[in-house]
């Protein structure tokens, strides 16, 4: 990030959501004169450092990316050598983006064509460029299409597989990458290996002495559907709070109430835990447990215990092992975190070279790291630059614009988009405990023009309603949103359960819900005058 010429933040509020990553970006900007481009419906924090802002419509990302691709091709700025040698599916892509002339798709993108052309040139002509995205891209019902549309741009210009040039999905949680790497996905084995790959399966079976199911499991959305269909009757949840974090909460709550048995393992008694039949108190992985986590740049780093966990709280690893032992699974014992890690290194080639000792000495290692003399891999896909290319070519996957699942209309005239704020984190389970000087509180961000038009005062309580639910929240003037666009976070579900509003239209492949696009209406709470109400009161009305 410190050695690039162009940074594009596409649907990524990095300065608030990844503050220390933003330090590195600023270093590039200040010391190398790198340029920053923000593609976001909002004027996000840090936009003052950007040389270009594309205020894309919520859900207009595929159309915009395709329009950028259109310009690159129209102006002959594509990297023909790279396309010919390292990619496939280019002709279909060319044909697909033909109809996305920026001037013709302004109604989809919301971005003036001139800016689209400017970005296309900047991206294509930059020596090195990093395209970053976060949930602005993936929390959509067409998340996978969005991601493909961006990858296509990198392939079109060869902005991948080189130091300082690439695609960077910024991870929202400290181990969301690690969780996937460890195989906590329905179609993956540890080491991000494909479940359907017989060789990978065999490696695991040999190590575990047990057969590995061949059938791909269910992702969360599919599990919810299975719960609705009565196919799933029991659930074991470790460290998640879905009855607050998921979209369309009224619906989710109903699903959980319908279960025969719910087991929740967490460091706190969350609202999900309150619904459980059995709760297993876990020690916090942070500061109380031993292990590793993997960050956005695939860097595996150590977690070390510093505190003795309270009461009877036990380590997650211990609990899982104990369950297995009590259930009579042969061969299970209690092991150290390092022993568990070493087992992973045996089944996962990309982690094989990462001993605890090396992680310690080197301050973490980036996978793939196949052997103990391997330095780790600061970037991926360098093979695309080999001539001739080794292995598979990188495919263009054509994506087409699809409108958001919900559109604004006369009844719900505002588009609500959601995200995270700097001082807070997800459902607030961790972050609400420290004293934030600006308070941990939720507001509805609205632009000055809309506030004036609706006659709202700063801090006035209002009611936000969608087709699924309503919440009451204080309205606040924001320079980040434009007329017609509103913003709320999900960080304070006890006071303002924003996800009562959001909808659970999900991506068919990834299963992520469209948290970023909800049609809502805003009304004043017709009570005594303009005095603002405490948020707590509003929450009680909601409860």
């Amino acid at each position: 990030m410190e050695n690039t010429d162009l940074i594009i933040l596409w649907g990524s509020n990095a300065r608030e959501a990844h503050p220390v990553m933003f330090h590195h970006m600023m270093k590039s900007i200040r010391q190398r004169g790198a340029q920053l481009v923000v593609v976001d419906p909002r004027r996000i924090s840090g936009i003052e450092f950007a040389s270009l802002h594309l205020p894309v419509h919520v859900g207009g990302d595929v159309a915009l990316a395709n329009a950028v691709g259109h310009v690159i091709l129209e102006e002959g700025l594509e990297n023909r050598e790279f396309i010919a040698r390292a990619t496939e599916g280019f002709e279909a892509y060319r044909e697909a983006v033909e109809k996305y002339r920026p001037e013709d798709v302004e109604h989809m993108t919301g971005v003036p064509a001139g800016k689209v052309r400017q970005l296309a040139r900047m991206y294509a002509q930059a020596d090195r460029a990093i395209l970053c995205w976060t949930l602005g891209i993936t929390e959509h019902h067409n998340a996978v299409q969005n991601v493909h549309a961006l990858i296509n741009l990198a392939l079109l210009t060869g902005k991948v597989g080189r130091y300082g040039s690439g695609l960077a999905p910024l991870r929202g949680q400290n181990n969301v990458q690690g969780g996937g790497d460890m195989g906590a996905l329905p179609n993956r084995l540890p080491g991000f290996q494909d479940l359907t790959d017989p060789a990978a399966r065999k490696r695991c079976e040999d190590a575990w002495g047990l057969p590995v199911p061949e059938k791909v499991g269910k992702h969360q959305t599919a599990m919810f559907k299975a719960m609705a269909d009565g196919e799933i009757r029991a659930l074991y949840i470790i460290g998640e709070n879905p009855v607050q974090s998921e979209a369309n909460l009224h619906h989710v709550r109903g699903l959980f109430e319908g279960l025969d048995f719910l087991l929740v393992q967490d460091i706190f008694l969350t609202p999900t835990g309150e619904m459980a039949d059995v709760v297993l108190p876990a020690s916090a992985s942070f500061a109380e447990a031993e292990g590793t986590v993997t960050n956005s740049e695939r860097r595996v780093q150590r977690l070390r215990p510093a505190l003795k966990p309270p009461g009877e709280a036990r380590d997650d690893l211990w609990i899982v092992e104990e369950l297995a032992i009590r259930m009579g699974v042969p061969g299970w014992t209690h092991r150290s975190a390092e022993e568990a890690w070493d087992e992973l290194r045996r089944v996962s080639p990309i982690h094989a070279g990462m001993s605890y000792r090396r992680l310690e000495e080197l301050g973490g290692l980036q996978w793939p790291c196949p052997s103990e003399d391997h330095p780790g891999s600061p970037f991926l896909h360098a093979r695309l630059w080999e001539n001739p290319i080794s292995g598979k070519r990188a495919p263009f996957v054509t994506a087409e614009h699809e409108p958001t699942a919900e559109q604004v209309d006369a009844e719900y005239p505002f588009m609500l988009t959601t995200g995270r704020r700097l001082a807070d984190y997800n459902t607030g389970v961790q972050s609400r405990h420290y004293a934030a000087p600006h308070g941990h509180r939720e507001v509805l961000e609205m632009c000055e023009e809309d506030m004036d038009r609706l006659g709202f005062q700063e801090g006035e309580l209002c009611r936000v309603s969608s087709r699924r639910g309503k919440v009451e929240v204080q309205v606040s003037r924001s320079r980040k949103v434009r007329p017609g666009l509103l913003f709320m976070s999900l960080n304070h579900p006890d006071e303002v359960p924003t996800n009562l509003l959001t909808l659970d239209a999900t991506d068919p492949v990834a299963g992520t819900a469209e948290f970023k696009a909800t049609a809502v209406r805003v009304e004043r709470v017709a009570t005594q005058g303009a005095d603002s109400h405490p948020v707590e009161e509003a929450a009680q009305q909601n409860a």
Partner: protein
């Protein structure tokens, strides 16, 4: 190597690399040099003048933290002029500041032979600011090293909540438009606290424990781990009181490539959930 050359330090030859400061060369040559304002990850402020050296051909002494080494430079650190200037800098600071929480400053002052009673006069009375829950500012202890301003500004955080205000002896650090931190642009990352060399900026937890006489670094273990929040993977140093099983402070290692010692508000202050009871 093509980009190395020789310089003369106190009459001895030393190797310098292109782009290095004189201070870098001095440190490698193990020539003890006092420094206050310079910091490995910040632009040299060249403000404290503790690191001045005599440079042949230069009328005044030069700040070794800022001046780049050049081939053939002749540097003296052992001359009476240099010793006198360094001693003078510390004597002036000691006449101005409360250094009770700046043991490194006090030790350096002693090592250059500074007489704390040399100068009398008005002390630095810039006030104690207690305006938020996360850290306090005791500007009587501020030596105006500019580190906090640089960390808040272009060197790290780019928030620009802090500035140097006023002029001369009345100059001081101010937040926002001379207002409280919560009213300023401050985002409470605490990176200013992390770089403050005198304890003028201090986490509230540390400040309270000191006030109660309960701050005791002897009792604290420092455990390095990874932050529990977003996916950046910041490295944290948890300072843990063994006896009470409490985290008393969070810092970050200066030499780790992800953080370089810098964090955000959640990483530095958002740890208390591990100590919180269920609610």
């Amino acid at each position: 190597m093509a980009d190395t050359f020789q310089v003369l330090i106190d009459g001895h030859e030393a190797i310098a690399h292109e782009g290095e400061t004189i201070l870098d060369v001095l440190r490698r040559a193990q020539v003890e040099t006092p420094t206050l304002c310079t910091h490995e990850h910040l632009t040299p402020a060249k403000a404290c003048r503790a690191c001045v050296v005599e440079l042949k051909g230069s009328r005044a002494l030069v700040a070794s933290c800022e001046r780049k080494a050049e081939p053939g430079m002749e540097v003296r650190t052992d001359s009476e002029r240099v010793q006198n200037a360094r001693r003078g800098v510390f004597e002036l600071l000691l006449s101005q500041n409360d250094v009770s929480t700046a043991p490194a400053l006090a030790a350096q002052a002693e090592s250059v032979g500074a007489d704390p009673g040399r100068y009398r006069g008005q002390r630095y009375e810039k006030g104690f600011f207690d305006d938020n829950q996360l850290y306090v500012r005791d500007y009587d202890k501020c030596i105006l090293c500019y580190r906090c301003v640089e960390a808040c500004g272009p060197d790290v955080q780019n928030t620009f909540a802090l500035t140097v205000s006023g002029r001369g002896f009345d100059a001081g650090i101010a937040a926002g438009f001379g207002e409280s931190l919560p009213d300023s642009a401050c985002v409470f990352c605490g990176n200013c606290v992390a770089v403050c060399p005198t304890g003028a900026l201090m986490d509230r937890r540390e400040h309270s424990l000191r006030a109660e006489g309960r701050w005791d670094e002897e009792r604290y273990d420092v455990v390095q781990t990874t932050c529990s929040y977003c996916g950046v993977g910041c490295q944290l140093e948890l300072h843990v009181d063994r006896a009470s099983n409490e985290i008393v402070k969070v810092t970050s290692p200066m030499d780790h490539s992800v953080t370089h010692g810098f964090l955000c508000v959640k990483g530095r202050y958002g740890y208390s959930f591990v100590e919180a009871g269920g609610d």
